[in-house]
């Protein structure tokens, strides 16, 4: 295998380029994806390569262009719609929930919606309370869509082709802190399996469940704990809906302890869902209560020290694991 180091951003771009080149039904649209190159520079250069019909700058009309992506998918295209961040996706929530997620069912199986909707999520850049939230857990509540969160460069490269091959709507959440991270990209078949969670670090003492941006904090905590002789198994959820119960619960059955890291707020969160699933399926296997490390219940503040205090940090994860193990 031909290993090469790339950024998460480059991996996404490569996946888009390959999709655009390989299938003329695929097109990219969103605000500033073309001339500007994407607000996180993911699509830089694609307009020049594929032209304005296939790399479409849209007006600031989230509902219209997300809905147009859904409509185009109904008519046989394979649109990739980019929304700048999850905060703005709320203006298109009607289309995502009331159309993308329901059309197949309401039509008695006649109309599936093969659209991919990508957006940035998460905090960490001092962008305050309207640019920093992690609302993917809300989307994971909705039957009819699949929700994925690539946390590694390989997944950034490999999830898009899998998502495009899916006959149903897929929402892809890209944590803002990941775009500039680097990793190795294998040269083999790029498409990755999005049905399974991944064990990113094996361990016997506790199961640490994370996804997207929180994987970094989880792995850092695991490294530190290893120095203390606590071996943590780190699971990258990868797909937030449907959750891969088998991998999560299988790990907890081995370690008998579970800690969940979630950048969403604690109340009514994905972490609450995971915790419930574990107790439903492996209650008698647990040797300790399930611990959760979540974002403080506050709109994300601007000041660096406050933002840091609001978010799940490795130190808090270490603390939570010690509590579970101790």
């Amino acid at each position: 295998m031909n290993e090469k180091r790339v950024t998460y951003r480059e991996a996404l771009r490569e996946a888009l380029r390959e999709a655009l080149a390989g299938d003329d039904r695929v097109f990219l649209m969103g605000e500033d994806v073309g001339r500007y190159g994407g607000c996180f520079a993911v699509s830089l250069g694609l307009l020049e390569e594929f032209g304005p019909e296939r790399v479409r700058d849209t007006p600031m009309s989230e509902s219209a262009f997300v809905g147009a992506g859904i409509g185009a998918a109904l008519a046989g295209m394979r649109p990739v719609v980019e929304i700048m961040t999850v905060n703005f996706s709320l203006l298109a929530l009607d289309q995502i929930l009331n159309n993308a997620a329901t059309l197949l069912h309401m039509s008695g199986g006649q109309f599936n919606v093969p659209v991919v909707i990508r957006m940035a999520t998460g905090a960490g850049r001092q962008l305050a309370a309207q640019h920093s939230h992690s609302l993917e857990g809300w989307y994971a509540h909705i039957p009819g869509i699949r929700v994925v969160a690539p946390a590694t460069v390989e997944d950034a490269r490999g999830m898009l082709p899998t998502a495009l091959a899916d006959p149903d709507p897929v929402l892809m959440f890209e944590h803002v802190s990941l775009y500039s991270t680097e990793g190795e990209l294998g040269g083999a078949d790029r498409q990755v399996d999005i049905d399974r969670a991944a064990i990113r670090r094996p361990g016997r003492d506790a199961t640490l469940i994370a996804y997207g941006g929180t994987l970094v904090a989880a792995l850092a905590a695991a490294e530190e704990l290893s120095g203390e002789g606590i071996e943590v198994e780190v699971i990258d959820l990868r797909t937030l809906r449907p959750v891969d119960d088998a991998t999560v619960v299988g790990s907890v059955r081995r370690t008998h302890r579970a800690v969940i890291v979630d950048e969403g707020w604690r109340s009514g969160s994905l972490s609450a869902e995971l915790s419930t699933r574990i107790t439903e399926q492996a209650f008698y296997e647990l040797d300790a209560g399930i611990e959760r490390v979540c974002t403080a219940e506050v709109p994300i503040p601007y000041a660096r020290h406050l933002e840091e205090a609001a978010l799940p940090q490795p130190a808090a994860v270490v603390e939570a694991v010690r509590k579970a193990v101790g």
């Binding site: 509902s63 809905g67 147009a68 859904i70 109904l74 008519a75 649109p79 008695g108 009819g144 006959p167």
Partner: protein
């Protein structure tokens, strides 16, 4: 329409002579078929055979009858919860529509949609949306896809006057005009959004004027005159199909009945309703046909009989049709992989 609707072309009543007579008789058939279907739905609702929300199209038939048959077979339609008329005029089998009202597996949406969510892949009928203005983005996308693939198909998008106050309406008209999308926007202005009269919700009540501000051809049409609607539709569709641009028709119409079966219609003046009933599009066309000597009492009676039989058969079939097994409750949430 296919033979299993219960009438082959050869059995159709009326001895149409010239093309104009034929055309008017066909429009009458379309409108009458919708009217009688809707009346049956009201009756069945009152008998608790149909439940949920039911919004009938009585009074507005000239709009669907004038526009929908002017579309080509490959064109797409996006509609609202008041869509029985559009589906019927499109040729979606009446029997499957009635079965949907009954929530049966033989319904167009297998009983998962009901009155508000009629879908039919064969005729590119994309619903049936019950979110006011929520169908407009879909129409823009369908049109975008057809254009990107080099097809000459167009998308007709129906919505009410209430939708004009929604953000999605304005986003989509802008997008369609900006990208030159082949969409025919059909605004059924029946003067009310539930209980809210047009002037109580819209600062500018000239809806065509507002659409025109996005840089597309837009004009009002007498929605109670099916011939005027058909003429406008043909002209507009020509612009959309050949010119590759969107177009907007404001169909000025009126619903004779309440908003839905839940509505006790307290907000409208009885005299106003009666005045609009004087302009009943079916009565108008029948009177004209009689005056011109092209429609006979026997011809009309035969048409009524044909429609009554078709509807009766559909009701019988729906009554006898099976239900979706509860074991299949969670089917069609995700595509079934083979």
């Amino acid at each position: 329409m296919t033979a299993d609707h219960g009438h082959e072309a050869g059995r159709r009543p009326g001895p149409p002579a010239d093309a104009g007579t034929k055309r008017r008789f066909e429009l009458l058939r379309q409108m009458l078929r919708i009217r009688r279907f809707e009346e049956k739905c009201v009756e069945l609702y009152s008998a608790a055979k149909i439940r949920g929300f039911l919004h009938v199209y009585i009074g507005e038939e000239a709009v669907a009858a004038g526009i929908v048959p002017s579309l080509e077979p490959g064109d797409a339609i996006v509609s609202t919860y008041r869509e029985h008329g559009h589906a019927l005029a499109r040729g979606v089998p009446l029997e499957a529509l009635m079965a949907e009202m009954y929530g049966r597996i033989t319904g167009v949406s297998r009983g998962r949609g009901g009155s508000m969510h009629l879908f039919d892949a064969d005729t590119r009928f994309y619903g049936g949306s019950a979110i006011v203005a929520g169908g407009l983005p879909l129409a823009a996308g369908l049109a975008l896809a057809d254009r990107m693939r080099g097809h000459r198909q167009v998308t007709a998008c129906f919505f009410g006057d209430g939708a004009v106050a929604e953000g999605e309406f304005h986003e989509c008209l802008n997008l369609a005009a900006l990208w030159r999308l082949p969409v025919l926007f059909c605004c059924e202005n029946n003067l009310y959004a539930m209980g809210t009269a047009l002037a109580r919700a819209q600062a500018q009540t000239d809806l065509a004027l507002r659409a025109a501000s996005y840089g597309m051809a837009a004009w009002p049409v007498d929605g109670m005159d099916v011939l005027a609607v058909e003429d406008a539709a043909r002209q507009a569709l020509g612009m959309v199909r050949d010119g590759g641009v969107p177009c907007f028709l404001e169909l000025r119409t009126y619903r004779f009945r309440a908003h839905s079966m839940y509505d006790s219609d307290r907000y409208r003046d009885k005299a106003e309703i009666e005045a609009w009933k004087e302009r009943d599009p079916i009565t108008a066309l029948v009177s004209r046909g009689r005056a011109d000597g092209e429609l006979t009492d026997e011809g009309l009676a035969a048409l009524e009989e044909e429609i009554a039989v078709e509807i009766e058969r559909a009701v019988e079939a729906a009554e006898a049709a099976p239900m979706e097994p509860v074991a299949d409750l969670t089917r069609f949430v995700y595509s079934e992989r083979t």
